[in-house]
Amino acid sequence: MNLEPAFPLQRRSRWSGLGAFIGTELRVQLHEVLSIGVSVIVQAVFLVFVSVLARQYLPYTIIGAVVFSTFQIGQRVQNESAWIRIDHKLHELYHASPMTPEAYFLGMSIGILLAYCAPILVLSGAAEYFVRFSGTAALIFLGVLACEFVFTASVGYMISTWFRNMRSIWPYSTLFFNFFGVLPPVFYPLWLFPSALQPIILILPTAGGTALVEHASGLLALPLDWILIAAVSLVGGALLAFVGAVYWARRISRER
């Protein structure tokens, strides 16, 4: 066969095109200045509200806000992925190309993370001011945020493919926010949650991750078995979700 292609056909890695697609998504998202700004303001207003109402819980709330801001990246991945697929059909442009479906999924996720890192950075600065992390606690905090991102972006991407119209996604986003952020002990300390359910709720990545950071920074004393529950759930959940998202991205790149 003599194709004499005027374009690159050499064997490419699984992640080829990732950098270019991160750049694409970053450019697209940075036009949403208002949305990025609002994401900072909403969290800041919430912190003011807590500092007036229950100042003693402010350090917990700030750590929870950082964790949840990172977790919300998944919601944005979900919305963006669905928007591109349902409204723009641009996924077909990228799937019928040398770029792999997993590079598409990860590129979109990292691009959104970079665009929406402002609330995470601002809140992390506030957390450092109020909590004063040790080196170890800071590393655990970073690790927790990395797991939150991987878990939530993976789950958000998978869920985005279930919807056939954008209107269905909006109520789901509210449910997502309440189930992972408002109900479990993310913005408030673990001990305020019903005691019998405390080890169980640590399975949730938001609650477990927050508790781990609070434990590492001396705000909370978790027994060893609870630490294991939270850590294994968080890391295992992130790994499983990522493997699942890569599998799913490949599978849905060709509809059934």
Binding site: P8, A20, D87, L93, R254
Partner: protein, 309 residues
């Protein structure tokens, strides 16, 4: 041996309904496209054009059948053939917050082109599509036709060996459509192969070297536009509006093709005068013109290409 750019054998697709009956969108479609050909898949809305194009371009799995692209099995190993493809999806839109220049450039970069090549190719494609003037405007500010041209520019800038174009000129003005056609001709001159779907008869005729007529998931005819027109049985048509009452008499002059309440008589120049006199005698309006692809389509499918029923 010449390898086909695309070879489809008995491709069938059934959409399974959850709370509704199954829909058979394709019923055993087989076709072959040689390297460098420009082929149109012509059909009414819902005929199965997009389903076939999406299966061929690895975006949709068939229920059964086989598709190979440049000799590689596109069903068993879609990733092996994807580097050879580029697709303009039906009703696709560029990123609203990218400019046409950014859209084409970033897409080429994602496909593995160097920055320098991507820049040069994006510029050339934008120029071909007449988008230079608006190349730095966000797509959200562009008209529907300009957005569609941005999608086409993005895809043709790849010069991929096999391009799938699903209704590529929809929403464009006639002038822009001709510009797009020229760019497709240039691509095939350079060696690319193009499969496009359209329900514009003039587009299929002007652009395709061969065309397939598809209806209700089946390929009904194949050939050049001239072949298909010849198959109608004459060189001229006389169209008689509300001619149902004189159908029997009209049928004596040649084959009839119906389009709503108009009856087209396919005939030769020697019979024209008689048909016009018959129409005038029956107080009916009649017009004369060359046989077009429309009559060929009507004869093959039995319905107008604009018939949505």
């Amino acid at each position: 041996m010449q390898t086909d750019a695309l070879r489809a054998e008995s491709v069938r697709k059934v959409y399974r309904g959850r709370n509704s009956p199954d829909i058979e969108a394709l019923s055993g479609v087989s076709l072959r496209i040689s390297k460098g050909e420009r082929i149109a898949l012509l059909g009414r809305n819902g005929a199965g054009k997009t389903t076939f194009l999406r299966i061929s371009s690895t975006l949709l799995a068939p229920t059964s059948g086989s598709v190979s692209i440049f000799g590689r099995d596109a069903i068993a190993d879609p990733e092996a053939v994807r580097p050879y493809l580029a697709v303009v999806p039906q009703e696709g839109k560029p990123f609203m917050h990218l400019t046409p220049r950014e859209q084409a450039y970033t897409y080429l970069r994602a496909r593995g082109f160097s920055a320098e090549t991507a820049k040069a190719r994006a510029e050339h494609a934008l120029e071909q599509m007449g988008l230079t003037e608006v190349a730095d405007r966000l797509s959200i500010t562009l008209s529907g036709g300009q957005r569609q041209r941005t999608m086409v520019a993005t895809v043709i800038s790849t010069e991929a060996p096999l391009l799938f174009l699903d209704e590529p000129t929809i929403g464009m003005d006639p002038f822009a459509r001709r510009g797009v056609w020229d760019s497709f001709r240039e691509l095939t001159r350079k060696g690319s192969t193009i499969l496009l779907t359209t329900h514009y008869l003039d587009e299929a005729e002007a652009l395709s070297q061969r065309l397939y007529i598809i209806d209700e998931g089946r390929l009904l005819a194949e050939g050049t536009a001239d072949d298909l027109k010849r198959s109608v049985g004459g060189t001229l048509r006389v169209s008689v509006v509300s001619g149902d009452g004189i159908t029997a008499q009209l049928a004596t002059f040649g084959p009839l093709v119906r389009d709503g309440d108009t009856v087209h008589v396919i005939t030769g120049p020697q019979r024209i005068q008689e048909i016009l006199e018959l129409a005038a005698h029956s107080k009916l309006t009649a017009t004369v013109g060359p046989v077009t692809l429309e009559e060929a389509f009507l004869r093959v499918v039995g319905r107008s290409i604009n018939d949505e029923s």
